[in-house]
């Protein structure tokens, strides 16, 4: 009798497992219609414009993906509510690239093979953009990414690549310039993440420093997801640095901030946007981020009215403050809207041509214009982290 019960129990478990699997399969790949279903378009005449998105929903920084989708969805909702683009509603087809290069390749392949998709937003991280850029240029698919590594224009010549953030070739120089001119640093340590983003930033910083006759005394790398930075910090202490330039992602930067404080490495730190991200600030305390400076794209407290309006709309809808990802990808949808309207038609080749002609487009990053490399953002904001909050200091133009 007992054996029979066990047999039924195991069959029951199997049925439950299979049922839960079908539940999973039923979840559609996060497609959104801008959230406003009351605006059902007249599908017979006005076909929707399909835009693909490769977002980092899971992986080492899933928060970034969440903000990315929130920014995109807010923009799509606003545009659709105002009548869409040329009277056509936008529909987002988004996939999770897990913030990993090989998954990003699969995701991008899937998106470019969908003939109805006319442009792709993402993948975000430089490593993933580098891994997928050829797929998109082969498919003649214009794509917009926030990947900031200079390698995307120096090592690669892709006419379909469009950058929606300040390139590190520009941001990196501002960082190094700030360290030398404002902080009067003489012995500089450079800490970088070993991926395309970190190494790209490192190269720009070091070449600017050397053009001014300064050689950094410590240059140390680490990997994404590394949790112990005491080796690099010990080397910095031993070398007696007076300023640290840090080019890495938020989780690793947070661990650095904490361990620097614990080990008594008390020097100002300059870096890119990382230090303004809520995902970084929520992991550290005010004491640990004293003396941190950030050259960022987007900082709340920027008095520009375009920025404050966006901030208000985002905070009202989602109950959280927007960050770099929200603002960059919100802007990307508006960039596409502008390009499609100028092109007069929504197809890949026309959009690519129109994007290259982007000029004087107002955005949360100032006036956008496209240079020959497809880079659209040409200004940056310097902020100091005071009391664990980024405080807007000034805007710098390329």
């Amino acid at each position: 009798m007992k054996r029979q019960m066990k047999k039924w129990l195991s069959i029951f478990m199997v049925v439950i497992l299979v049922a839960s699997l079908t539940g999973c399969a039923g979840t559609p790949s996060l497609s959104s219609n801008g959230g406003t279903n009351t605006q059902k378009p007249d599908n017979k005449q006005q076909e929707e414009i399909l835009i693909g998105v490769s977002a980092a929903i899971t992986g080492p920084a899933p928060f970034d993906g969440e903000r990315t989708m929130q920014g995109i969805n807010l923009a799509v909702e606003e545009i659709n509510a105002a009548g869409g683009i040329m009277g056509r509603q936008i529909k987002i087809i988004s996939e999770d690239d897990q913030n990993t290069a090989n998954i990003a390749v699969n995701v991008v392949n899937k998106l470019v093979n969908n003939e109805k998709i006319v442009a792709i937003i993402g993948p975000h991280r430089s490593a993933n953009a580098m891994a997928t850029e050829k797929i998109m240029s082969d498919a003649k698919m214009p794509f917009l990414t926030g990947a900031s590594s200079p390698k995307l224009v120096t090592q690669v010549d892709n006419p379909y690549f469009f950058r929606i953030r300040g390139s590190d070739s520009f941001v990196g120089q501002i960082i190094a310039k700030f360290a030398l001119d404002e902080l009067k640093a003489q012995k500089i340590g450079v800490i970088f993440n070993n991926d395309d983003y970190g190494t790209g930033g490192r190269d720009v910083v070091i070449s600017y420093l050397e053009s001014k006759g300064v050689t950094p005394v410590v240059v140390e790398g680490h990997n994404t997801d590394d949790k112990d930075m005491s080796g690099a910090i010990t080397k910095c202490k031993d070398a007696g640095i007076d300023c640290l330039i840090m080019y890495t992602h938020d989780p690793e930067a947070a661990i650095f901030a904490r361990q620097m404080n614990e080990m008594g490495l008390d020097v100002p730190v300059v870096g890119p946007v990382t230090f303004t991200l809520p995902t970084f600030l929520s992991l550290v305390t005010a004491e640990e981020t004293k003396g941190f400076y950030s050259v960022a794209d987007f900082v709340s407290g920027n008095p520009d009215p375009v920025v404050t309006n966006f901030q208000k709309a985002f905070t009202e809808k989602y109950n959280v403050e927007p960050d770099l990802f929200a603002s960059a990808y919100y802007t990307s949808v508006y960039i596409l809207k502008d390009a499609i309207e100028r092109a007069g038609t929504a197809d890949r080749a026309a959009i690519q041509k129109a994007l290259l002609e982007t000029k004087d487009l107002p955005s949360v990053y100032g006036k956008l214009y496209a240079n020959a490399d497809g880079e659209l953002v040409h200004s940056a904001v310097v902020a100091e982290i005071v009391d664990n909050k980024p405080v807007y200091s000034t805007t710098v133009y390329e």
Binding site: P62, E66, E220, T234
Partner: protein, 290 residues
């Protein structure tokens, strides 16, 4: 010289963590002949339950939250044992149980993301700061780790020598069949072992919160390096776990002071492969080297 001591201290601290990880999966191996590939997710789950739910959501004081978290993880371990380890260990090949634990790891990882969200977070005032011994700064958390490790080792030692359950565990480790012939309920034993291992995982999870922050990937590397530590020290032996853990922790930390820190993680695995090639029985010559 101060850098040397600084790194040595950090190395011992992390070494204790690897040692605890090696102990908790060695216990399961000794009791059931299975490796728990979900052990790093147990660690992560312990940390999330403690930090995410008990401290941050229910606002319990630390002194209450710790035993409650331990208790919950013990229950979770028992359920895992009754659901996965026991039934699958009796099948004719170990591969089924191994696959079961690998799948459990995946499920735990995604379930954690769905329940607590993907954003890493921190307990701001939990074991923060460092003591200064001259030029060397000793993180409070590393001290706590060392004290906790010694305490756990003493408790396990006492349990193995003086309590009925502990002696039964040693019997099962020696020879499962003989133990069951002597009246030891092997199933109950495995359940108890996994529960105990779950509690140790919970302790590890709580201890590493000040070092690593609470995130979905917080324990992956520790799980792998703890595994390497057990093999380097001698698979299946508790003293081996201690030796292996400390060795990997110290060598890795000292290396990061002299070599490029990008390759820091490589150290543990180079040691692992080296020992497997040259001395597969590990430093302390364990019998269970299969």
């Amino acid at each position: 010289m101060t850098s040397f001591f600084q790194l040595l201290l950090g190395g011992i601290g992390m070494g204790c963590i690897y040692c605890l990880v090696a102990i908790e999966y060695t216990l399961i191996w000794n009791a059931s002949g299975l490796v728990n590939f979900a052990h790093d997710k147990f660690i992560m789950l312990g940390a999330y339950i403690f930090a995410g739910t008990l401290v941050l959501k229910l606002n319990l004081p630390i002194i209450l939250a710790v035993p409650i978290a331990l208790f919950l993880m013990a229950i979770f371990g028992s359920v895992a044992a009754m659901g996965i380890f026991n039934p699958l260990s009796r099948l004719n090949s170990n591969i089924y149980a191994v696959m079961g634990t690998i799948m459990l790891a995946k499920i735990l990882g995604e379930a954690t993301r769905l329940i607590w969200g993907p954003a890493p977070f921190n307990l701001p005032s939990f074991v923060k700061g460092a003591y200064k011994l001259g030029e060397v700064s000793v993180s409070k958390v590393y001290l706590l780790i060392m004290i906790a490790t010694i305490a756990i080792l003493l408790i396990i030692e006492f349990m193995f020598k003086k309590t009925k359950v502990g002696i039964a565990m040693r019997c099962v480790a020696e020879d499962k069949t003989a133990a069951s012939l002597m009246g030891v309920n092997v199933n109950k034993n495995i359940t108890f072992t996994v529960a105990l291992s779950g509690m140790i995982c919970c302790v590890v999870g709580i201890l590493i919160i000040p070092v690593f922050n609470v995130s979905l990937g917080m324990s992956t590397m520790i799980g792998l390096k703890g595994f390497a530590a057990g093999i380097v020290g001698g698979f299946g032996s508790i003293p081996g776990a201690i030796v292996g853990g400390l060795l990997i922790g110290i060598v890795e930390s000292l290396y990061s002071g002299v070599g490029p820190t990008v390759y820091r993680d490589v150290v543990a695995f180079v040691l692992l492969i080296g020992f497997l090639l040259v001395k597969p029985k590990g430093i302390l010559n364990s019998k269970a080297s299969k």
